[in-house]
């Protein structure tokens, strides 16, 4: 029973308490780069989830075999392997998405979330908690990208998932799909998460 609660905790912490881009400020490159539309953001999130899950499983299983001195190099090679798989899968099954994401799929290799979870969690924990940790972090990351994507696509194009929501009266905010808009939206979301979690912490204290 306690075990189950523990697993649930590992899963849950990635969803809010340690939600990757906003709280840990990890994996910022893809958060900013591919969120000009919802589809791109979600595709990127799922690709990252896949790599995170597979690399966490591998690292966790190999944790007693890999010598400490070369562990980072070993993790990077493991991650690069799975990223290659994800990249080829996207290119074969969803060519337009693969094209839109461009070099940001291979750049998952150096996404700090994945190396960070391997180093901070999977190498010290057995298989099941590592899987839950990867799922939680991956889903939290996907949700964050989706939120960024919704905001930027809605204001930048007046649509969500290519479905036009705002009528002709709406003048698209070009800034939202430009790099500057990405930084600013991200900045405001970090502030919002700070605000909400501070409020939550206060209510718990009082």
């Amino acid at each position: 029973m306690a075990d189950k609660q523990n697993l649930w905790h590992e899963f849950k912490k990635g969803l809010w308490q340690d939600i990757p881009p906003f709280r840990l400020v990890l994996g910022t490159c893809p958060t900013l780069a591919v969120t000009n539309s919802v589809i791109n953001g979600v595709a990127m999130g799922l690709a990252t989830l896949f790599v995170l899950l597979t690399s966490n499983i591998t690292v966790s299983l190999l944790r007693k075999i890999v010598p400490g001195q070369v562990r980072i190099a070993a993790y990077v090679v493991i991650i690069a392997l799975y990223v290659t798989v994800a990249d080829m899968f996207l290119a074969a099954m969803f060519p337009p998405i693969s094209k839109a994401l461009g070099p940001y799929v291979p750049l998952i290799v150096v996404n700090c979330i994945i190396l960070g979870r391997a180093e901070a969690f999977a190498q010290k924990n057995p298989l099941m908690p590592s899987i839950m940790d990867a799922l939680g972090m991956g889903i939290g990351f996907t949700m964050s990208l989706a939120v960024m994507g919704v905001i930027r696509e809605l204001f930048g194009f007046g649509s969500i998932m290519d479905i036009k929501l705002l009528g002709d009266w709406f003048e698209p905010w070009i800034v939202m799909i430009l790099p500057g808009g990405a930084f600013i939206v991200f900045g405001f979301l970090v502030a919002l998460v700070n605000y909400l979690s501070r409020k939550k912490a206060e209510t718990i204290c009082h």
Partner: protein, 192 residues
């Protein structure tokens, strides 16, 4: 002429930090003091130029020749990690003064996505050897420039009255957004 265009494009117009969002981690993490920002920028520029010089032959003469270009991610990341390690060892032996200034930043560069991004863009755009090296150097120069500007603003920001929920990462990101908008002004430099 093309080389100059590549340099200007890599450093100003398509600045890696502000238009491709590569190298955000050090950009946010190490930009609180001008001195640190400058050292990090110089170390990164050095590694980027070397990376371009090393990964181009690896891609052209090994991966393409043996028809295994899908191994590029694994090959590049290993090459970069090895390169950073060698540079660190060399600097530690040859000049302890530089090592003290740059040393702690070198391991961080391995996971700087701008370095891997550089190698990937280099392949994507079919640069030749000289162009790749110039591209690497220009990208590094642009990174240093962005780091320096950010650190300058952040040093001033310490005296500003920022609302509590915007403090830290949040305000830094918003400033970066404004810098990115300002950098768009450079887009008129090159036509076509």
């Amino acid at each position: 002429m093309k080389l100059i265009l590549i340099f200007i494009s890599a450093s100003l117009i398509n600045n890696f930090v502000l238009t491709y969002f590569l190298g955000i981690c050090p950009f946010l993490g190490v930009s609180n003091k001008t001195e640190n920002a400058l050292n990090m920028g110089l170390a990164t520029t050095f590694v980027m130029t070397l990376t371009a010089a090393v990964t181009w032959p690896i891609y052209t003469y090994i991966l393409v020749k043996f028809n295994v270009p899908f191994l590029e991610y694994v090959a590049f990341i290993i090459a970069i990690a090895a390169l950073v390690q060698l540079v660190e060892m060399y600097i530690r032996k040859s000049s302890p003064a530089i090592y003290r200034a740059m040393g702690i930043y070198l391991p961080l560069i391995t996971t700087n996505c701008a370095v891997l991004g550089l190698a990937l863009f280099m392949v994507l755009r079919d640069y030749n050897y000289i162009e790749s090296i110039i591209f690497g150097f220009g990208t590094g120069a642009g990174f240093t420039l962005a780091m320096l500007m950010m650190s300058g603003i952040r040093e001033e920001l310490e005296f500003a009255d920022v609302p509590p929920m915007f403090q830290g990462v949040s305000i830094t990101l918003i400033i970066a957004g404004m810098m990115a908008l300002a950098f768009m002004g450079f887009a008129g430099l090159i036509r076509g």
